[in-house]
């Protein structure tokens, strides 16, 4: 277990994820914080039973409100800060745990691996970068896909993981999304896709761009089949992923605070030469600008998804003997 700057993915708790490209580094390092604290404590009274590493495993500092949180509590609260509702980034496997009925998730297309169609080299060859990313994140790709049940409702579920290669979409992500959509269409399952991505994967060049068309095209057939697709936007979703499947949901949900856009904030500021509003491209900004249907806290995400799925898939059953005016019971709602 490692210490984490809250800003990084929850993956970093377990796997020391690589620093995602394009993210700022202005937050205080937790280790540093502990070092300072320790120094102070040593100066006062020397009584420090835990090592820094042990401390880090037990405690996490909230990126937003700086509160020190007991890591176990944080995990039980789905990695949402109980003080300020800051939503820590979580990995794909953890999402599966948070969302699906225990043991119901069956991964598909786990056997797809990136190749190197361009022989791409910058400071390092792409294959080496791939190996490094896999080693560091413990993930072979930036998308985990499969089928599961949610409160007994079968679903097709795809979850992007920013921890692997900045969640970038190359041929494998595109192919896995397309196959998942096709699978959902064939089995007539509702489809849920969680986005988290820096955009298309440059190292696969034009083939990465083509994944936008491939996934959107698959959604056309899916849409025409009258099936439900819920897109969930999570911190951060940018570029080619936003400009394809992420924005094509019948219903689009965003997690609080998630930043979502096509062009990045810095690029826009450089282009228009003015500062952008502080809440620009946040989930809340998107909501007030008509781009998402709702912003849903992670702790209510599962029940909201179940409610939406049951609303759109279950046939109305006339309850025998009951009046038409009875308030219907909506499973999965807290109240």
């Amino acid at each position: 277990m490692f210490c984490s700057r809250g800003f990084l993915s929850e993956n970093s708790f377990q796997r020391a994820a690589p620093r995602p490209e394009g993210l700022s580094d202005n937050d205080m390092d937790l280790k540093e914080w502990f070092a300072n604290r320790k120094k102070k404590q040593e100066q006062a009274e020397v009584k420090q039973p835990l090592t820094t590493e042990e401390y880090c495993a037990l405690w996490t500092q909230c990126f937003q409100c700086r509160e020190l949180l007991y890591t176990k509590d944080l995990r039980e609260n789905l990695h949402v800060c109980p003080k300020c509702l800051y939503h820590f980034r979580v990995g794909a496997e953890q999402r599966v745990e948070q969302l699906t009925d225990p043991g119901s998730f069956e991964e598909i297309d786990a056997n797809l691996r990136s190749s190197d169609p361009l022989g791409f080299v910058d400071s390092e060859p792409y294959p080496k970068r791939l190996r490094d990313a896999e080693r560091k994140s413990g993930l072979v790709e930036a998308l985990l896909s499969g089928t599961a049940t949610m409160e007994e409702n079968p679903v097709a579920l795809g979850i992007m993981d920013f921890g692997h290669f900045g969640g970038s979409m190359g041929s494998v992500v595109g192919e896995k999304v397309a196959r998942l959509i096709e699978h959902a269409e064939e089995k007539r399952l509702p489809l849920i896709l969680f986005s988290s991505s820096g955009g298309a994967r440059m190292q696969e060049g034009i083939l990465s761009l083509m994944q936008l068309a491939k996934t959107s095209s698959a959604l056309k057939s899916f849409h025409d089949a009258g099936l439900l697709y819920i897109s969930v936007l999570t911190e951060p979703t940018y570029g080619g992923v936003t400009a394809s499947f992420a924005m094509l949901g019948d219903i689009i949900i965003a997690e609080p605070g998630a930043r979502v856009g096509f062009a990045g904030r810095r690029v826009i500021e450089q282009t228009i030469r003015q500062k952008l509003p502080a809440d620009f491209q946040t989930a809340e900004y998107l909501l007030s600008h008509g781009q998402v249907d709702m912003v849903v806290e992670r702790t209510k995400l599962r029940e909201t998804l179940v409610q939406l799925i049951e609303f759109h898939t279950k046939q109305n059953k006339p309850k025998s003997g009951s009046s038409q005016q009875t308030e219907p019971v909506i499973p999965g709602r807290a109240g």
Partner: protein, 323 residues
């Protein structure tokens, strides 16, 4: 022989130098001063032709990029006017905006009546600003979508001309959800039952290009480029240096021939030696011939086949290993 009005690019400088020498010599001979120099002139002219041929048959990615961005390169309106001087322009998204960076209309090409959409860069400073340097707003993509739907209703083939640095990274563009505008076009284009042909005539920049690029056939002019991100963007992110644009161009494999090798482009259309801007009429005619040829083939297919063909084309694209 030497086209004086064309601005030479950096890599064309040796050629331009030679052209200057030839001009000087011609002037001297014309004045009757040194008739004995005629042999030298012949030699220089031969050298010029040789250099020109060798130069343009050994272009690097960044040279193609420079040609694709040449300020005198023919733009969408230059092609449309040459193909059908009576083409009918259609305007607007019907919802408040007519984006000049996206030109749309109705056009006759051979025996075919087609809907055309194309990004438009400006020629004059005023035009450039008006067209936002060829970067459409979300409303431009939605204007194109309206025309796509028009084409579908009347079962007219669609021709899209692409020459854009990409979608505009601006505040209003994000506010008006350009990601959605692009995504919806990708989805809706894939569902059309009419022939769609897209041509990269200059720059094919990322999602902003693809938004009118989901086609049954993708053609690229010889010196056009097509990339997932601008080479400048790629260089600054991966090399962390603006000086590495040439490296980024090479690494991304963005030239017409490379894009065809990757299975994305279906045909590379020859340009006049030195680039389309050396002879726009010739370039337009060559492209027209190619388009009519593809239209003749595609219009033989049924609506259902056309949709399936287009979806299959993009379904196949990508490279991965299945273990």
């Amino acid at each position: 022989m030497v086209d004086q009005k064309i601005t030479p690019l950096e890599f064309e400088k040796p050629l331009a130098l030679l052209a200057q020498q030839i001009e000087l010599l011609e002037k001297q001979i014309g004045e009757g001063a040194h008739p004995e120099l005629e042999n030298d002139l012949d030699r220089l002219n031969q050298q010029y032709d040789q250099l020109k041929r060798s130069l343009y048959s050994n272009l690097r990615g960044i040279d193609h990029l420079a040609l694709a961005r040449h300020p005198q390169r023919p733009y969408t309106r230059d092609y449309l006017g040459r193909w059908d001087s009576a083409w009918i322009e259609m305007h607007g998204d019907r919802k408040g905006v007519d984006d000049p960076a996206m030109v749309t209309g109705l056009l006759r090409m051979g025996d075919h009546k087609v809907v055309v959409c194309g990004t438009q860069k400006g020629r004059t400073i005023h035009e450039k600003k008006n067209c936002n340097f060829g970067m459409p707003q979300p409303e431009g993509y939605r204007k194109a979508l309206r025309l796509f739907q028009h084409a579908e209703k009347f079962q007219l083939p669609i021709i899209n001309l692409i020459d854009t640095p990409g979608a505009y990274p601006g505040l209003a563009a994000e506010e008006h959800n350009q990601a959605e505008a692009i995504a919806v076009n990708l989805r809706e284009l894939s569902g059309l039952t009419v022939p769609v042909i897209s041509v990269i005539t200059g720059e094919g920049g990322s999602g902003g290009a693809l938004a009118i690029g989901v086609a049954n056939r993708i053609l690229m002019l010889e010196h056009s480029v097509y990339s997932v991100i601008s080479p400048e963007g790629c260089a600054s992110i991966l090399w962390r240096s603006a000086d590495k644009v040439a490296e980024a161009c090479t690494a991304m494999k963005m030239t017409a021939r490379e894009i065809k090798q990757l299975g994305v482009a279906d045909e590379v259309v020859t340009e006049p030696l030195g680039g389309a801007h050396h002879d726009a009429d010739f370039a337009a005619e060559k492209l027209r011939e190619a388009l009519v040829r593809h239209l003749n083939e595609l219009t033989k297919m049924s609506p259902k086949e056309l949709r399936k063909d287009r979806q299959n084309k993009f379904r196949r694209l990508g490279a991965f290993v299945e273990s």
